[in-house]
């Protein structure tokens, strides 16, 4: 199996506070990798380091074969990112957002045209294509930002709590999009604190107090802790947590 993310003792300190402590794991091509943990466990910090938004304090990592310290610009060409906060431009239309982000990833005019038609078709947003993004309901916005994040066909897409505040039906639809992306060969790295979503992942890791406490397939984890749901796995692991927001 191809390793697309490899980290070794990756650490981030803010002064005395260790947000992420010696994180070590591998993620393989085409995988849906769930990154779980309570609020404040250090998920977002870890993810920001992998995306090149934040410099690690120590440890090493390679993303798509590129070094996290020296080749951040190479990494950026090969990843997509969808942040916790909705971050498309609300005062641009759907089409304009797609064109903009596609454009800065270097898609040609022809590709842009094809891609945007295809994307709007898949999302069923033909009527809204010329509407301001700010006017869309939250669920639509999330689906749109995901589609924009994989517009340039990255090797890996990072999703930071992509379904926060979204209704269950839309969440289900959102996961369909994720599967589709994974089928097309994109590796998906997703953080969430919905435990039902954890079940959709191929493998998951559990972060508690900045450290990875467990890493395996959902089935194996349930077996290991001798419980029937991921909720219980999470509860067992997180019970000992010292920090929470």
């Amino acid at each position: 199996m191809d390793t697309v993310i490899h980290t070794d003792k990756l650490t981030k300190r803010f002064g005395d506070f260790i947000a992420a402590n010696e994180i070590t794991f591998d993620v393989y091509r085409g995988e849906i990798f769930g990154f779980l943990g309570a609020n404040g466990a250090g998920k977002t910090t870890a993810m920001r380091m992998l995306c090149g938004l934040s410099k690690p304090s120590s440890g090493t990592a390679t993303i798509a074969g590129f070094d996290i310290y020296k080749q951040t610009e190479e990494i950026k060409k090969n990843i997509g990112y969808m942040s916790q906060k909705f971050s498309l431009y609300e005062d641009l239309t759907i089409l304009e957002n797609i064109r903009f982000f596609g454009g800065i990833y270097g898609l040609s005019d022809k590709q842009l045209k094809e891609k945007s038609e295809q994307l709007i078709g898949t999302l069923g947003m033909e009527c809204e294509a010329k509407k301001m993004v700010g006017a869309l309901p939250l669920g639509w916005k999330q689906k749109l930002s995901f589609s924009v994040a994989i517009l340039h066909e990255p090797k890996i897409v990072f999703l930071d709590e992509p379904t926060g505040g979204v209704d269950p039906v839309t969440r289900r639809q959102f996961w369909d999009l994720i599967y589709e992306a994974a089928d097309s060969g994109i590796t998906v790295f997703v953080t969430t604190h919905y435990m039902d979503e954890a079940e959709y992942c191929n493998r998951i890791s559990m972060m508690v107090d900045g450290e990875i406490k467990a890493l395996d397939t959902p089935a194996k984890l349930k077996q290991e802790y001798a419980v029937t749901s991921m909720d219980e796995v999470f509860y067992r692991l997180a019970r000992g947590a010292k920090r929470s927001e």
Binding site: E73, K76, S87, E90, Y105
Partner: protein, 380 residues
């Protein structure tokens, strides 16, 4: 280049879609340029004078009418006691009191040519000096009128040839570059410079900080966009808008409304403006890299703008400042631009005249932008 094209498209769309921003960018500056020069007129005229005349003689009357006919003074009150006059000063009805003592005429005329023993006749002037400039000029004007009057009296009473032996120096003044001493000619280019500065620095700083606040900057930071591309994408639209506003102000208001026709080379003026705008936008950029919220950016920009504008030399002369303050003015790009505006527009200066100014502005542009780019981090 392609990336830049997409960035620019996006910025222009966002700016022209913002209905609250557009009037601020284009209408408010023009309004200010129309109103401010009318309000900011420093010329001292219509000084209110109250006269205390203890003499009531033809000579005192002659002096009074000479004062009121001068055009500088308006007779606010004509009273018989000093206390009444002082009341006028306290209530701001008068700026100046002239007191003519009793026996003014008698003492003045009695003193014929042969008996020039006394030291002369005394007049008393009291000035409300809270506004020092006005007080200074007012008393200087009054002194000049009294001196003229004095000369008249002397001519009348002493026409013997020997008095012509007194040497007199005639002073002729010519006011170059603005012979009518029109204050608008001075204020309009200066205020235009200030407006362009404010638009550049504020809008640029706020625009970037807004992306930080909303979080879209994160999305940009994970893309392969280069620092310089992102910054150029932010600078160019405001650079362009600055040039448009300047053009509207220079031709639409300066030329059409106030009749100010730039004397110097327009190409030189715009070249300087171009460099200046880069420097000012760099300042805005720099502010944005040090702030997290729009409120902070606004406060800091306000602080700098206040200092720069007050010390720019437009409202008070730089030549009167103490050394430390003078040094500060030399570190403010605004000072140079206002000076260059005046030089090119009013005096017709050429490149050879302003080459030092040009060089300094290039240094400002490079340092401010370099510092901002250095400080702008895609990663934390």
């Amino acid at each position: 280049m392609r990336t830049l094209k997409f960035l620019l498209q996006k910025e222009f769309k966002q700016i022209f879609r913002n209905k609250a921003l557009l009037p601020l960018l284009f209408v408010v500056p023009i309004m200010q340029l129309l109103i401010l020069p009318l309000a900011a007129d420093y010329e001292i005229k219509n000084i209110n004078i109250t006269i205390v005349d203890h003499d009531h003689s033809p000579y005192s009357h002659k002096l009074i009418s000479k004062i009121t006919a001068s055009g500088y003074f308006k007779l606010a009150n004509y009273v018989i006691g000093f206390n009444e006059a002082f009341d006028d000063i306290e209530k701001d009805r008068a700026d100046l009191i002239l007191e003519i003592p009793q026996g003014f005429e008698r003492n003045l005329i009695r003193e014929d040519g042969a008996a020039g023993q006394t030291d002369g006749e005394q007049l008393y002037v009291a000035v409300n000096a809270i506004n020092g400039v006005k007080a200074n000029l007012g008393s200087a004007y009054l002194n000049r009128i009294i001196a003229d009057y004095n000369a008249d009296v002397r001519m009348e009473w002493a026409q013997m040839p020997r008095f012509n032996l007194f040497p007199t120096i005639e002073i002729t003044s010519s006011n170059w570059f603005n012979p009518t001493m029109n204050y608008r000619f001075y204020m309009v280019p200066g205020i235009l410079a200030l407006l362009v500065t404010m638009i550049g620095a504020y809008m640029c700083a706020l625009n970037i900080v807004k992306e930080k606040e909303v979080g879209t900057i994160e999305q940009i930071n994970v893309t392969p966009i280069k620092k310089y591309q992102f910054i150029l994408g932010k600078l160019l639209p405001f650079w362009f808008i600055g040039i448009v506003v300047f053009t509207m102000g220079l031709f639409g208001v300066g030329w059409l409304v106030y009749g100010i026709i730039p004397l110097g080379n327009l190409f030189l003026l715009y070249a300087y403006l171009g460099v200046y705008l880069i420097a000012v936008l760099g300042l805005g950029l720099l502010i944005s890299t040090y702030t997290e919220t729009q409120q902070q950016a606004m406060s800091i920009a306000f602080f700098f703008m206040m200092v720069f504008i007050l010390m720019s030399g437009l409202f008070t002369p730089i030549d009167g400042m103490p050394k430390w303050a003078y040094v500060i003015t030399q570190f403010s790009p605004v000072t140079y631009f206002i000076e260059v505006m005046r030089m090119i527009v009013l005096k017709g200066s050429e490149f050879a005249n302003i080459k030092t100014h040009f060089l300094i502005m290039v240094v400002f542009a490079v340092v401010l932008n370099g510092w901002a780019i250095y400080n702008y981090k895609k990663t934390s």
